[in-house]
């Protein structure tokens, strides 16, 4: 047996369609069987509500008198794109305010407009014969705009990696606050209710398919950017009319230490055409697993600590190395449910007729990393190979002499095998000389917790280490922990005006 989209829309018009949420579907399939569920259910509604950074809106202001060709544009001091001819702009959610930085951004401008608040437009131009005006400042309400069309390049991730942090320092990421020593796990996504997880083969979700977007009827444009369904990370590009949106399903947010983002409520109604749709929409939290990645590693490829299903993550804790670690979602399951329920009402009441994709989205595509024609500077490009070290059993006086002779402020300390065991600075030696006590040997005054760099490490990572630890030099070590060079703030000066910053 199968149903056509026409039959399902006919039942919706008659008011006899059975619409359920994706959360209810697994239970129905378990009770009635797949055939029974196909007969019983006509539409499954999905929903998700979470941080979707890659969001924004096209705004049209109409012409001023005299007219202006706006080239640089700010909305409440948040810069918007000025390359769209005279009176259009695109405001991106993550763009930060020039004055309030991360506490206010494009997402807040969008939320303020939707909430009915007035927003200040400020723009400048070089002035042309056809557009003589050079500046404009005006207060605008959403109703004053001709169009306010939300257009989000990358929304509704099929699932998202969970995060933890094995370092000894708290991290502030787009995955929220990550406590040191794997102190917590954060995750995002609606699991059982997620649109793409209920249609992983992309048979039903594609260009032109009607959706719920922030409380307004919207539409799928096509595949989202970074779309990578081969690995289970499909995304959607979506659009909707901001004038019909509600603050209930659209919220600006700030991830401390990361920046501004927009919480978006999005749902897709799925027509139950055949058994394949029944099986796909019977998916449960237990069936969807994600990797818990170590965000302590500042690289594109972060190591996986373990995998966990949404059911495990949602239980409140997961086990890592024999310890129960508490979990926090960053997306709201309660609001995802509200999206799916409101969408259910829309379909039942005939407000949103269903449609199949006008054009399908690639279900097997694999996303590629950035092609980098030039490698950025690495530590080995600027490090000082003529590093002077000192043995741990040498006298402090020897260290003082070496510091003077070597014109350096840092001496890596090595043991008899040449392996790095500590570091002493001019400060440590001066302190020992000024307050003579029991300390005679270098090992008595050295710091044993040494932050190091690897030769093939990116300079950006090394700079991050210097900043975070408030230090000015890093011993560079090989894989056997032997000191091969020193990287100091002075060497970073080589980058300025050098070949790397062209």
């Amino acid at each position: 047996m199968h149903k056509t989209i026409g039959q399902i829309n006919e039942r919706i018009r008659e008011g006899s369609a059975r619409v359920v949420t994706a959360e209810e579907m697994p239970g129905i399939v378990a009770e009635l069987g797949e055939e029974g569920a196909l007969k019983e259910v006509d539409v499954v509604t999905t929903g998700t509500f979470g941080a979707m950074c890659s969001s924004g809106a096209f705004l049209n202001f109409g012409h001023a008198e005299p007219p202006i060709r706006m080239e640089r544009i700010w909305l409440n001091n948040v810069e918007a794109y000025g390359g769209l001819a005279a009176v259009d702009t695109y405001i991106g959610a993550t763009q930060q305010s020039d004055t309030l930085q991360a506490e206010y951004g494009g997402a807040h401008v969008i939320e303020d407009l939707v909430a009915g608040k007035s927003v200040e437009l400020r723009a400048s131009s070089h002035g042309t014969d056809c557009y003589p005006r050079r500046t404009i400042t005006t207060e605008l309400l959403l109703e004053n705009l001709n169009q306010a069309i939300m257009c989000n390049p990358r929304n509704a991730y099929q699932r998202y990696n969970a995060a933890t942090n094995t370092t000894d320092r708290a991290l502030h990421t787009y995955m929220g606050t990550l406590l040191p020593g794997s102190g917590n796990v954060t995750y995002s996504g609606a699991g059982v209710l997620n649109p793409l997880s209920n249609d992983p083969k992309l048979r039903l979700i594609g260009s032109g398919v009607p959706i719920f977007l922030c409380g307004a009827p919207g539409m799928v444009i096509g595949e989202g950017t970074q779309h990578s369904p081969a690995g289970g990370f499909g995304t959607l590009m979506v659009t909707g009319d901001m004038k019909q949106m509600s603050q209930e399903y659209l919220r600006a947010a700030t991830m401390t230490g990361y920046g501004v983002t927009l919480y978006v409520g999005l749902g897709v109604p799925l027509p139950v055409l055949d058994l394949d749709v029944v099986r796909a929409t019977a998916v449960r939290d237990e069936d969807i697993s994600v990797d818990i990645l170590d965000y302590g590693v500042p690289s594109r490829s972060r190591p996986t600590v373990r995998t966990a299903t949404y059911a495990e993550l949602r239980s409140g804790s997961v086990e890592i190395n024999g310890e129960e670690i508490r979990t926090s979602p960053l997306s709201s399951f309660r609001r995802a449910r509200k999206v799916a329920l409101e969408l259910k009402q829309w379909v039942e009441s005939g407000k949103m007729p269903l449609a199949l994709p006008a054009r399908a989205i690639d279900p097997i595509k694999q996303n590629k990393p950035m092609h980098q024609s030039k490698k950025g500077p690495r530590v080995l490009d600027i490090m000082d190979r003529s590093v002077i070290t000192i043995g741990e059993t040498e006298e402090i006086r020897t260290a003082a002499k070496k510091l003077l002779k070597g014109e350096t402020n840092h001496l890596p300390v090595v043991n008899e095998k040449g392996i790095l065991v500590g570091i002493v600075t001019t400060f440590d030696v001066s302190k020992a000389v000024a307050n003579p006590g029991k300390a005679h040997l270098v090992r008595d005054i050295m710091k044993t917790k040494v932050i190091t760099a690897a030769p093939d490490e990116s300079v950006d990572i090394a700079i991050q280490k210097l900043e975070q630890n408030n230090i000015s030099a890093l011993p560079v070590i090989d894989s056997d922990h032997r000191v091969i060079a020193l990287l100091t703030a002075i060497h970073l000066g080589k980058l300025l005006g050098g070949r790397w910053l062209k």
């Binding site: 929220g176 606050t177 919480y263 409140g316 926090s328 960053l330 709201s332 309660r334």
Partner: protein, 128 residues
Amino acid sequence: MKLLVTFSRGKGRKPIIAQVVRDTGVLINVERANIDSSEGEALIDVPDEQCQLVRDSMSGLGAKVRILEHGIIYNESECVDCGACISICPREVFCFDADWKLQYADEKCILCGKCIDACPHRALNLPL
């Protein structure tokens, strides 16, 4: 009952909390403390019926004592029930109910402030 004790360490560096424990016999639970060379602030928990005794004793030793009636201020209209606060709270003040609505146990809060920055929606604030 939670008491916020602030003291200056200028005169004699008196071990105020230890002194009060010895004088009153009340077992004081120090929930958090921030003490440096010149001043200190400690949040302590004492049984309700012995609160007055501890307050008087601390005040007598020159500390300022304030009863903390409320934990963090929770603004429900800004909250979207995401739960980012749950795992970073050292006292498990936050949890979900059966409908995934955020629940807030005011009495467990020690005002450490960790949740304030962790809330993406700025729904949690320190009381004035």
